[in-house]
Symmetry: C2
Subunit: 201 residues, 2 copies
């Protein structure tokens, strides 16, 4: 017989399939029960409502994204390259998992009821912050605090994902090359290294 944890994980996996196939709105506790041949009460034993179910998915997603960023932190030494890879990974995750990204960053989650989601979001923010702090300590960034740079960088990436997903990708607006834009943003926050300034004269 399956353990409760196995069932819980299967409920999450099927929910994920529902989201990926037909979007967040298509998820229902009733359909989930039907799909898994479980009674209504059996489903509710694991998740007390749809938001609880979605929150568990969001927790999994934050874990995936945070682990990816942590790996980068371990792999890349150069601060600019590190921030660049992190922002791009964040952007790419949003574009490739737009429904999940919306649950993670756009949906309002009650802070007292879903405190762990706010902790996860903060952890994500903290990893980007740590990279920018490292760059800041090495005097590689402009004279803004690492916190401000992290806030600006996160808002910029969130906006890029939204505009891209809504189809504002016309080259006339400059959104057709997100990688180039991310690089331009890094040009704004990282000082020009002395040996590449020769072109200015």
């Amino acid at each position: 017989m399956e353990s409760g944890n196995d069932t819980k994980q299967k409920l999450l996996d099927v929910t994920r399939q529902m989201i990926d196939a037909n979007g967040i709105d298509s998820v229902s506790m009733r359909d989930l029960g039907k799909e898994m041949n479980l009674s209504r009460s059996a489903v509710y034993r694991h998740f007390k409502n749809k938001d609880d179910l979605l929150a568990a998915i969001v927790t999994e997603n934050f874990d995936v994204l945070i682990n990816r960023l942590r790996e980068l932190f371990g792999e890349i030494d150069d601060p600019r390259k590190l921030v660049s890879e992190m922002l791009y990974t964040f952007y790419d995750f949003g574009i490739k998992n737009y429904e999940h990204y919306q649950l993670m960053f756009i949906k309002q989650w009650d802070k007292s009821q879903y405190a762990n989601l706010h902790i996860s979001a903060f952890e994500l923010f903290r990893i980007i912050y740590k990279c920018l702090e490292k760059a800041h300590e090495q005097k590689l960034t402009v004279s803004k605090s690492a916190k401000q740079l992290t806030a600006m960088g996160s808002a910029f990436i969130i906006g890029l994902v939204e505009l891209n997903s809504a189809g504002h990708l016309e080259s006339e607006k400059g959104f057709d090359d997100p990688t180039g834009l991310i690089n331009s943003f890094l040009d704004l926050i990282f000082k020009i290294p002395p040996n590449s300034q020769s072109g200015l004269f």
Copy 2:
């Protein structure tokens, strides 16, 4: 007897009330007809479906926001102050009209069916671009094209609105002072005027 245009405008006004009271999802052609004592076919004479109705609202909203930005363009001479006011006005509009903002910038609108909405979005972008071009010509901005700066600025504002609306406003993340962040962003894209550099030495 009311003209067709009066009826159409009243349908839009009632739709706006529905959105403001209970959100976009609460809008229905059926309820709209009931509310205005109109037959189903009378409503459908003006709007062929809910998206058509919403698109007309979005067009009105773009007109309002674009006119506000145009006024600023006529009123403010200093390029940095102008860009600052524009970005703040854009941000403020998003925060105060979040449901409408989502329809304008986040919802996917088919480009062939709703071409005029894409023209409006582009017009909004073009006004911000014009200010940044002016600043660029006066050599006040860093060495990025006005188009790139407009794209980065727009993405940054869209992200700020989203993060603010989703409740990511904790001071630990640096999002508790959006005005300060907008100013910091302007610090990144505008060169420091020579007379304020003395503090560096």
